[in-house]
Symmetry: D2
Subunit: 358 residues, 4 copies
Amino acid sequence: MKRIGILTSGGDCQGLNSAIRGVAKALYEHFGADLEIYGIKNGYHGLINGVYRKMEPIDFSGLLIRGGTILGTSRQPFKTMQDKDKDGVTKVEKMKKNYKKMKLDCLVVLGGNGTHKTANLLSEEGLNVIGLPKTIDNDLWGTDMTFGFYSALNVATDVIDRIHTTATSHSRVFIVEIMGHKVGWLTLYAGIAGGADVILLPEIPYDIDSVNRELAKRASIGKSFSIIAVAEGAISKEEAAMSKKEFKKHRAKMKQPSIAYRVADELRDKHPNEIRVCVPGHFQRGGSPCPYDRVLTTRIGTSAAQLIAKKKYGYMIALKDNEIVPVPLKDVAGKLKVVTPDCNEVVTARQMGICFGD
Amino acid sequence: MKRIGILTSGGDCQGLNSAIRGVAKALYEHFGADLEIYGIKNGYHGLINGVYRKMEPIDFSGLLIRGGTILGTSRQPFKTMQDKDKDGVTKVEKMKKNYKKMKLDCLVVLGGNGTHKTANLLSEEGLNVIGLPKTIDNDLWGTDMTFGFYSALNVATDVIDRIHTTATSHSRVFIVEIMGHKVGWLTLYAGIAGGADVILLPEIPYDIDSVNRELAKRASIGKSFSIIAVAEGAISKEEAAMSKKEFKKHRAKMKQPSIAYRVADELRDKHPNEIRVCVPGHFQRGGSPCPYDRVLTTRIGTSAAQLIAKKKYGYMIALKDNEIVPVPLKDVAGKLKVVTPDCNEVVTARQMGICFGD
Amino acid sequence: MKRIGILTSGGDCQGLNSAIRGVAKALYEHFGADLEIYGIKNGYHGLINGVYRKMEPIDFSGLLIRGGTILGTSRQPFKTMQDKDKDGVTKVEKMKKNYKKMKLDCLVVLGGNGTHKTANLLSEEGLNVIGLPKTIDNDLWGTDMTFGFYSALNVATDVIDRIHTTATSHSRVFIVEIMGHKVGWLTLYAGIAGGADVILLPEIPYDIDSVNRELAKRASIGKSFSIIAVAEGAISKEEAAMSKKEFKKHRAKMKQPSIAYRVADELRDKHPNEIRVCVPGHFQRGGSPCPYDRVLTTRIGTSAAQLIAKKKYGYMIALKDNEIVPVPLKDVAGKLKVVTPDCNEVVTARQMGICFGD
Amino acid sequence: MKRIGILTSGGDCQGLNSAIRGVAKALYEHFGADLEIYGIKNGYHGLINGVYRKMEPIDFSGLLIRGGTILGTSRQPFKTMQDKDKDGVTKVEKMKKNYKKMKLDCLVVLGGNGTHKTANLLSEEGLNVIGLPKTIDNDLWGTDMTFGFYSALNVATDVIDRIHTTATSHSRVFIVEIMGHKVGWLTLYAGIAGGADVILLPEIPYDIDSVNRELAKRASIGKSFSIIAVAEGAISKEEAAMSKKEFKKHRAKMKQPSIAYRVADELRDKHPNEIRVCVPGHFQRGGSPCPYDRVLTTRIGTSAAQLIAKKKYGYMIALKDNEIVPVPLKDVAGKLKVVTPDCNEVVTARQMGICFGD
């Protein structure tokens, strides 16, 4: 009897359920009746506290198109994993204990960067773990693509498309804030796909005067509206030069709730047009996964099942050059894949005349 | 030779271009070569300043699916219409002068409540005017439906749908702010269509304790997430009891930029779950009109052309009991169609167990 | 204890699950624990054969956005209802027997024209029945709108939109076949919403020469492509003049599987452009209901629950002038609401220059 | 002065206009006023007959989201390129003459397999040519991805999603025909993304008995519906064993217009459930490109402009391992990238329990 635990951790995104389905269906195809799958509730939280239930094949039906995660999810900061709880036991020890109590052959975790750091830790502690790369940020090291990214891109691009028509009708500058605290892939892609005029990313600190010059240049050739796509984590050149402490203090002083509003304030002094802000927020990560993500999650999910069949543990399943390959958890844990200023997509954007404010 | 001017005024919405196409195509079908159509730029602003251009049939091609307005739009507060400009002339006088200079037989205006007040004023001043009811708010008196409403409803409902999956995955309370400063039709419909648990409207002042009780009730029966749909203009019972002056002062003190954030703050003290806010904003009114709005705008547009052919002026084109009928501008100008607490849609929502916080 | 049976009958459409949810949730709100709902499987088939199961509140969760019907459906021709089965008992008698065996207080049926004929029959036989008007055809007498129509319209219009870009790129004539065997509402609306150049309906027999003249006229003014929206049940003038028997013989001789192919053949002799056919078929009725239908089904569903609470039976729930009202089953059973050549929508289309081939 | 000609050839697809925009905007950014772009009408047809026009920057505005091709397109079979026309001159000679008459520095062609064969021929004849890989089939050798594929996949998957709800509601077998005469990538991906139970491809001949066994197996475990995704060019094992001549004869005898109907007929004898066919057809290739294709076309388009700036001709722009690279036309012309039975996607599908009928 194979006993497999599965959990989803970190922020939810499109494709989690589809990936769960992929793992489960491929496992059932392989092991048949000789298999028990345990759904662990709300990410590592459920493993720490022993909250799980035995799943049946019917539980995995209808998941291909369903947003969110049927297992629930939560954020568990990696840095607290070795802290002792009030009962004097660390979270890692609790997870190991529950893993053994459940008699698992393998734990499958679906998550992003933090999730994989913990997965690697559990692997180092001797548990059999396989990781599936989930995040709308596409910032996981070791894989060309994470699932969720293209689904979120569809939503974010649709927002920019719709803002385009209202921006042109009203001759307005619109600042659209796209998700991404640390990396700018989603904003970069949505900016290109939505025909943004300016793109501001965490990886390329901006100078507001440069942005203003671009708006002025557009106005001078009769283009009375402009679209600025800004990542949640975009920073100015001044901010980039600050120490971490200075930066925190600087941001704490600001009244505006998010970067798009701050950029609007910075522009407002100098720009004659109406300026409006659009912060779509969490709905970028909700809803049904797009076909790209459904295929990717199915490929990744079945691949996880094959690794389990071969008793190969300690890997994250990655997409590399359109092949699905396992990469050791220790090679990817804790590393971020960020936008580099000379990557092909940034170069492309510049060649289209898009301004990065640098 | 018939000479028709056309302008779009107020906030843009889906269906403006489709309505312009409807008017133009039906006019060309009727008058053939004996017709000149003048596109007036940026709403009443263009009429005041004499900014317009002669349109050709090709200009109206491809408009059925195109968001925004090819004519541009702007807001011109009704109350300033009789003020003298720095040249000592009122805006109304300037509009009359340009109307005559253009030798128009009729001016077709597409707009909402303010637009129709001005249209009525111009009609009273002797101009031939026909109004087309545009707004995502569906708050125009005299018509069952305005165009833009159902397109915006589709966008707003999609937002709630996507928020649903992330709310359930994270066991969160999500507050989604829907457009509507004065009336709550869009929020009411989006709330019903999106399966919201709580709906807060300008017309039904809310008591935050009542909302909290509803969330607690849901939690007590194992429903760990909740969706609150709140209209931009929703107000609390305390606020409803204030004088206009007190209310302004009260709101000015608030730090949060919009109602959804304020409701979140009010709830946060008392509610254990994570609370998140989603303010989709302007993109609700952008993009291609939905088929409902395409048919409605085509019906309204052709009807405007028929009135012009019959030289019947001074009307807004309305939908009543699924027929397209003209209603006198003077009967509709300045009146709002608001949600009444006993309307069928509110009653329906209550029977579904939806809480209005009252 | 209230005991309510519910079934869906006839072709499926968007909004069935949402309507089921509306009835159930409003019933639970009203009767609380004093209620049992029985889901009858596959329409009248399940009532005839006694296939049903007790539903729980959880069964009605998640239905708002879900396409199809969780109860299953089937077609049961009305004319066979009084035939004796091989066991010498009529279907009506079996249904009455099972209704009594289940001790139902009311049977709620969701369906179209045939379904309501049977519903009326059961009502005449003494059963308590309430009907909900479902069909993408919007051809039910007594209601302004049936649910499913606007959802299907969205799909059909999207098809025409997409065909438009390929038609213009290739300078082709495209014939798009829209669902509707007996009535043309869906084709009429999709044709207007999609910007079709020609619309062919069951209610307005066409002359192929008239269609060809329209295509030639378009070509003569430089419009190298054309879109023809044709209802499944469209007929030519020659066919309209035939007896029922002649017509059947005439159609049986034809090789092409559906009307769009036949029209293509008729045109091909005389038209120089490439002609292509698109028959989207059943997917027009699948998938999630649009917000319009979600609100409509919720209103209709809660209204059914209110009638049950008041013990008012023998009605179909209708939308009239934007109010939800009960209309006696006997007044609507067996009547079709067809397109009339002088209805506002046809007049609108003609004023836009759309050709009906008559 | 740089003079660049551009044409689109073969069947249209999503992303053509976006790619045209990419090329043009990047060329303007690079050459500024020192550039003339000529739009050649209706593919090679326009080059053969000298039908073209000088484009202005404004012509490339708004193209990012627009379906089809503003240049028009047509099919020109490669094999007729060296035939003499009625005037005794070959098409190739005419194209060379017009290329010279237009004084082009480079001809940019957007097209699929046939288009690139002709592009290579023109390159061999001494013209400067750059090819952009367009096709919903993703069957071009030398590139990981062609634009159009993912947009068409979205449409095809949406069709299967909607069919799913009607299939389950009616317990039907549905056969959905997906575009692809020679290769099955689109059907394979749509089948996986849509959760099809059976996938039939040109590259994997099917045995109808195998398909029937799969349906029977599903029925035996209570799954009363099934979805079969079949590519236009799917063939049976018997057909695969035929000579080309025999095959043509065999197909000519068939009454049904397309493969989905034939499979339905083959199944109907042996399967008890209702069987329905859905042939969405050309609308799979129409409408706005998805964000994936918008980014891809922008990257490919700018890359073409860079090659032109470097005077590097004779290449197709390809996506390889997420980099944009030029590949020599002679290396790709005439080669197809087909589905191989052991490719990761097919293996994935089998591991999910999907039947290929082999």
